[in-house]
């Protein structure tokens, strides 16, 4: 008896034998727009807010204060590479168990890319964002994204992202439409998503 792999591949070959295989072209040419215009920033803020996430725009100097104000009561965890200080935060060392994370009220992370058209934040879980579990289990997620990380639409983001990294695309707080197809926020993921949009990072020459 042949093994499953050999047999499935042989079946595929046989199924397509005799078909003229003309591979269709899939990429419509498009101009990628990685530089965030004011319109893109505006649209991003609007679309994230549409999902009933909290959206604030603030200067870099106000950031610590805004984070402190957004934090709920209880403990907060931060990834090891977070560029902003959060007073009293537990820095994730990778050893916190899921059950321990469940006792923590909030997490503060940065992000990789933001998509204006869909109001989506993409995490690729580098040290400024931390491993996937820390931005999942706590009930409040405070996410900092810079204007220069925003792109117009999904294909622009795809072009910037590294597929080798695990990614989490987040569009608003956890939600479901499973009861009579009505959208309800708040199931298993963070029930509060708080997005802070900050100006571009200053380029030091």
């Amino acid at each position: 008896m042949t093994d499953a792999r050999t047999e499935i591949l042989a079946r595929v070959r046989e199924a397509l034998a005799g078909s003229t295989v003309e591979l269709p072209e899939t990429s419509a040419p498009r101009d990628l727009a990685p530089v965030a215009t004011p319109e893109v920033v505006e649209l991003f803020a609007e679309r994230v807010a549409d999902y009933r996430a909290v959206v604030e725009r603030c200067g870099t100097e106000e950031l610590e204060e805004r984070i402190a104000a957004a934090l709920p009561a209880g403990e907060v965890v931060v990834p090891p590479g977070l560029s902003i200080g959060v007073a009293g935060a537990i820095v994730d060392n990778g050893a916190l168990t899921a059950a321990e994370l469940d006792q923590i009220a909030a997490v503060v992370t940065e992000a990789r890319v933001g998509i204006a058209e869909t109001g989506t934040i993409v995490l690729d879980h580098t040290p400024d964002q931390g491993r996937r579990a820390i931005s999942l289990v706590p009930d409040t997620h405070i996410c900092i994204i810079r204007e220069d990380q925003l792109v117009a639409d999904v294909p622009d983001a795809i072009a910037l992202l590294d597929p080798a990294r695990p990614q989490t695309w987040i569009s608003g707080p956890s939600a479901t439409s499973d009861i009579e197809l009505d959208r309800v926020e708040g199931v298993h993921g963070p029930r509060t998503l708080h997005v802070l949009i900050t100006p571009p990072r200053k380029v030091t020459s």
């Binding site: 093994d3 499953a4 792999r5 047999e7 499935i8 591949l9 079946r11 595929v12 070959r13 199924a15 397509l16 295989v21 591979l23 269709p24 899939t26 990429s27 419509a28 679309r47 549409d50 990778g94 899921a98 059950a99 469940d102 869909t118 109001g119 879980h125 491993r131 996937r132 579990a133 999942l136 639409d153 999904v154 294909p155 795809i158 072009a159 597929p163 080798a164 990294r165 695990p166 990614q167 989490t168 695309w169 987040i170 569009s171 608003g172 956890s174 939600a175 479901t176 439409s177 499973d178 009861i179 009579e180 197809l181 009505d182 309800v184 708040g186 199931v187 298993h188 993921g189 963070p190």
Partner: protein, 486 residues
Amino acid sequence: MSGTFVGMPAFPEAAREALADSQLRHNLAHATGTIRAKRAKVVAEVEDWEELRLVGAAVKERALLDLETQLVRLEETLTANGATVHWARDATEANAIVASIAKAHEAQEVVKVKSMVTQEIGLNEALAEEGIAAWETDLAELIVQLGDDLPSHILVPAIHRNRAEIREIFRSKMGAAGRPAPADLTDEPAVLAAAAREHLREKFLRAKVGVSGANFAIAETGTLVVVESEGNGRMCLTLPEVLVSVVGIEKVVSRWEDLGPMLRLLPRSSTGERMNPYTSTWSGVTPGDGPQEVHVVLLDNGRTRALADEVGRQALRCIRCSACLNVCPVYERTGGHAYGSVYPGPIGAILNPLLKGVGHDDQIDSLPYASSLCGACFEVCPVRIDIPSVLVDQRAQVVDAHRGGVPKPEAAAMKGAAYVLGRSRRLSALERFTGLGMRFARRFGPAAWIGARDLPDAPAESFRAWWLRTNGGRNDGGRKGDGTDD
């Protein structure tokens, strides 16, 4: 899901029963109406939607027509990323692989992301036989599982249940499966969702093995993608030590950039959102982040049979958005159970016969007829599956499969018609008895046909007889000529 579709009656019989359930029809009309409006709104926002559909179809078609190369590439890249790749010819092989992985880790339970393919192969039942509990974690799947019910929609398997029914299921069944529902449970959707959160959290936190499907598998990079809403997917994909993903071989797309158009098409077509709340992508194992043992089971289970069908193979482009269900006038009235499969609606009416073959099961053979061929399904399909054309082709295949043996009434009627219409004299002879024939048909004709249609009155004289008698109307003497006595 603990019920089973095995032994379901053919569509017409099952549909009749569903149509008599006014609660079901009310629930379905409400839900499909809501989702249709949401979809239309967000699709209208995309200027190049039609072009995007062409690209979506091309992305899937490209991978399907080059499937052998793409699958071998996917296996290579996944393996290089630290995943273990398994191949399964059918449901039995796939279930055995998942069970053996769970057993190797002495797991008595697994947590599951909503996945059509694991329903298709009956994974939960197969694991139960091995003493392993499979917990569904998607809210709608949980409702179906707790209610010992069957899924009736691809996206929202509990679409046939309203909030009051869901409250009752949670109240009476949650306790036996784990944390009971709170005593003050109301039928507010937000309260019901919160109860599901509480009920499932302990299962997520302790789970050793997670089981998922995948919306896309990217050959170039060895990446799997899961699209979801609630965060139950993220829980299952992140917290367990071991992750097993069962992936139909038609889920492969060639390149990372292919994800761009697909992620623009899918959420808008599916839940009617610009983007679904959560999408997870992972490429094998990431040290220090998420499951450290990652398995991928590549499953055939009839897909190569569908691929061999030149007309039908386009059904393998399906990305399971369920837009075709929501617009289908048949689905809206009968609901999903009548289709007797985890894949209901227009896509199910072609996918089931394609995956399983026609001519050996009356239930499957009835599905290509479960349509009025109105074409709404094709218009909304994000990957442009021409469902009506495939339905017609499948009907022809069903008829062909039943040639020889006792002919069905339609076949006999067609043969008779061919005989009569083949010779002018035979037709003239028969025309004299049309009136009598109609009266006979009204009385003794097949009830399923006659019961829903008015048969016209037969004219007393046929056109041909009138033409002969009046010399083409010239000697008609001012009469209307149709020979009726009105």
